[in-house]
């Protein structure tokens, strides 16, 4: 892993060079922070805190055309997926989520859409110096300076950014930018380690997940699910804005003689998600749906892929309008064991 230093005086030049590569970065739009394209000539200001909408929305769009069709035409029209993309300022938790989600998209079938986009995307991460209130990445195997899933990890050192190269893709970017970069001195690396250590110490919430994957199947009929789910609105906030939730639905949209087959995010918190054609719903209430959401992340995914499908970004806890708090749920699970 090579380490380079980018003086902030050269930041706009750095952005200028990247913006020719279909660059996306966090931007504040009204109340929401989300990834937005950076046009040539525009600058980017990276600050602390994460986006409301995770960057999964760029690799796994909320609505995505799989192909177009029309009557009387045998060929299907597939979208051309060939545009490279650079995501700047991706938080280590969100990048780690992409690495976890890849397990699913490579599982029994290689999903060409997701994997192609993933291949075309370079992730330039930004280590968290100031974790947010509900951040708990170290509890679930992450860290504020994790490089998992990233191509380059940047750390804000104040006057400059430290750029650590993680992959070949990252190396290619660093190579292109080499006129703007200088070799990082040893004290910059030392400073980065101090910042990462400080960030870990600033994390206020957390839970030791030890035993939870094993406990969950035992608690299938426990009254805790009724208690936890009673206030649930049954909306899609916790799943849609979760960086590791990947459920989708496939629908055809037809107008006249032409249409498209598309896939769109779906949520296990919706009643419709498991509703059968017969009208029967095996998860008839929010109790079963809440239980599924937690079991999926902390038990089923662990059984299948050996890792918890939660990166501790805290979005579900922060954004739930009725304070259904994942960390609190996990505490209750441990207490009920």
């Amino acid at each position: 892993m090579s380490a380079m230093l980018l003086n902030k005086e050269k930041w706009s030049e750095f952005i200028g060079k990247l913006s020719g590569k279909n660059l996306w970065a966090p931007a504040v739009q009204g109340e929401v922070k989300k990834y937005a394209p950076v046009a040539e000539g525009e600058t980017v200001e990276l600050d602390e805190g994460n986006t409301t909408v995770p960057p999964k929305a760029l690799l796994f769009p909320q609505t995505e055309t799989l192909y177009r069709f029309s009557t009387g035409k045998e060929e299907l029209e597939f979208p051309g997926l060939d545009e490279e993309m650079v995501l700047l300022g991706v938080r280590p938790c969100d990048a780690r989520a992409m690495a976890l989600v890849e397990n699913l998209f490579r599982w029994d079938f290689d999903d060409p859409y997701y994997l192609k986009r993933r291949e075309l995307t370079t992730l330039i991460g930004l280590a968290c110096n100031e974790p947010e209130l509900n951040c708990f990445c170290p509890s679930v195997g992450g860290s504020p300076d994790s490089t998992e899933g990233l191509d380059i990890l940047m750390t804000d050192l104040g006057e400059s950014y430290l750029l650590e190269t993680v992959t070949e893709k990252g190396k290619a970017i660093v190579e292109e930018m080499k006129d703007l970069l200088e070799e990082a001195p040893a004290d910059a690396l030392e400073q980065k380690e101090q910042l990462a250590k400080g960030a870990r110490e600033k994390i206020r919430r957390g839970i030791d997940p030890e035993g939870i994957p094993e406990a969950l199947p035992q608690l299938w009929e426990d009254p805790l699910w009724q208690r936890i789910s009673a206030p649930c609105l049954g909306c899609g906030i916790c799943t849609y804005l979760c960086p590791t939730c990947y459920c989708f639905d496939i629908q055809d949209e037809i107008e006249g003689s032409a249409g498209r087959r598309c896939r769109m995010w779906d949520s296990c918190m919706f009643a419709e998600y498991t509703k059968h054609t017969s009208g029967h719903n095996p998860r008839p209430t929010r109790r079963e749906r809440t239980r599924n959401r937690i079991n999926h992340k902390y038990s089923y995914f662990v059984d299948k892929f050996g890792v918890i499908a939660c990166v501790g970004c805290g979005r579900c806890s922060t954004l739930c309008p009725v304070n259904i708090d994942l960390i609190d749920i996990l505490r209750q699970v441990k207490a009920a064991q």
Binding site: T63, P231, D249, W265, P321
Partner: protein, 326 residues
């Protein structure tokens, strides 16, 4: 606020044989969050609170809670649900009764005269949330934030929720039991949020809503949090025919939000839950308040004030205005 009296009353109510559970509020798990609290026995009342953070409208749960088919050989549980309501929440209960969404005799309404609630996001801008659930109360007209030893007075105008600033019915319009004295309704200024949009040219207004609806992620939290959006089979969930495509884009999002707004005209009680729960900050309150005001000004009708009223959209008067009919 007499918390002891509230808890004592709540304990009496949940102990009644004809009451299934009571829905109130409890302190959340961090920061300025408060959680709906479902109490099944007297022990649960110890966590019950009523504070300026109890902004959520619990009337929603009267229709949100699933009613599963009763297994053969079992009797349906017909016990009542007891509910804590502020002024706006009580209007939702009254409107549900008007629409026959619920029966009056199925609920025990515990009224809480409401001095106004805090918009926690405004508070968090001044005093960031911490990992400890904050303790907040009223202090005269203002709010009091208690942090350990420290007591901070927060001027009312700085953090009062927009819907409370515009509230004309702070006292419950119906209740079986009322806790505390009625509050004096406060002077309500013009709805500047709506006025600002009305002042725009039509094209500008369209641009404004295009920007807002384009942000929508269709999580349906607004629909699900709305106490008066309770169709068992919502048109948004229909697959055959599909009235609103699942695709998330400006066109479909607009169809969703406008359909919801129209269905709420003359029914919305302005409790503000739609806007409060939106994770991407769409100002749905402005849309619904505009419709509510039109109904109020054109037809002299305000929903949710009288559980005996005729529903607005199902009533006709010979002198209803019709100037807007082309």
């Amino acid at each position: 606020m007499d918390l002891d009296k509230l808890r004592k009353t709540a304990a009496e109510v949940v102990s009644r044989d004809d009451v299934k559970y009571l829905i109130g509020w409890r302190r959340g798990t961090f920061g300025y969050r408060v959680a709906p609290h479902f109490i099944e026995d007297a022990a649960g009342v110890d966590e019950l609170i009523f504070s300026p953070l109890c902004i959520a409208n619990l009337a929603n749960y009267l229709t949100l809670t699933e009613k599963l088919p009763v297994p053969r050989g079992q009797e349906a549980d017909t016990r009542k649900v007891a509910l804590l309501v502020k002024g706006c929440d009580s209007r939702a209960v009254a409107q549900l009764i008007v629409e026959k969404g619920i029966k009056r005799e199925d609920v025990v309404v515990i009224g809480m005269p409401c001095p106004g609630m805090i918009d926690w996001k405004l508070l968090a801008e001044r005093y960031p949330e911490t990992d400890v659930a904050a303790e907040i109360g009223w202090k005269g007209e203002d709010f009091l934030l208690i942090r350990g030893e420290e007591e901070i007075t927060i001027p009312r105008a700085e953090v009062l929720a927009e819907k409370c600033r515009l509230c004309r019915h702070p006292n419950p319009v119906l209740s079986d039991i009322t806790i505390g004295e009625a509050v004096e309704p406060w002077a309500v200024a013009e709805d500047s949020g709506v006025a600002e949009i009305e002042a725009k040219e039509a094209a500008e207004r369209w641009d404004y809503w295009e920007e807002q609806f384009s942000k929508c992620i269709r999580c349906y939290s607004c629909r699900n949090a709305c106490p008066l959006c309770y169709c068992e089979d919502c048109i948004l969930d229909r697959l055959d025919p599909i009235w609103v495509n699942r695709a998330v884009n400006f066109s479909e999002n607009t169809a969703f939000h406008l359909a919801r707004a129209f269905h709420l005209a003359g029914r919305c009680v302005e409790c503000g839950e739609c806007e409060r729960v939106c994770p991407v900050g769409i100002p749905l309150g402005k849309l619904n308040r505009k419709l509510a005001r039109t109904v109020r000004e054109e037809y002299g009708f305000e929903p949710g004030l009288d559980p005996e009223a005729e529903p607005f959209q199902a009533s006709f008067k010979p002198d209803d205005p019709e100037e807007f009919i082309l």
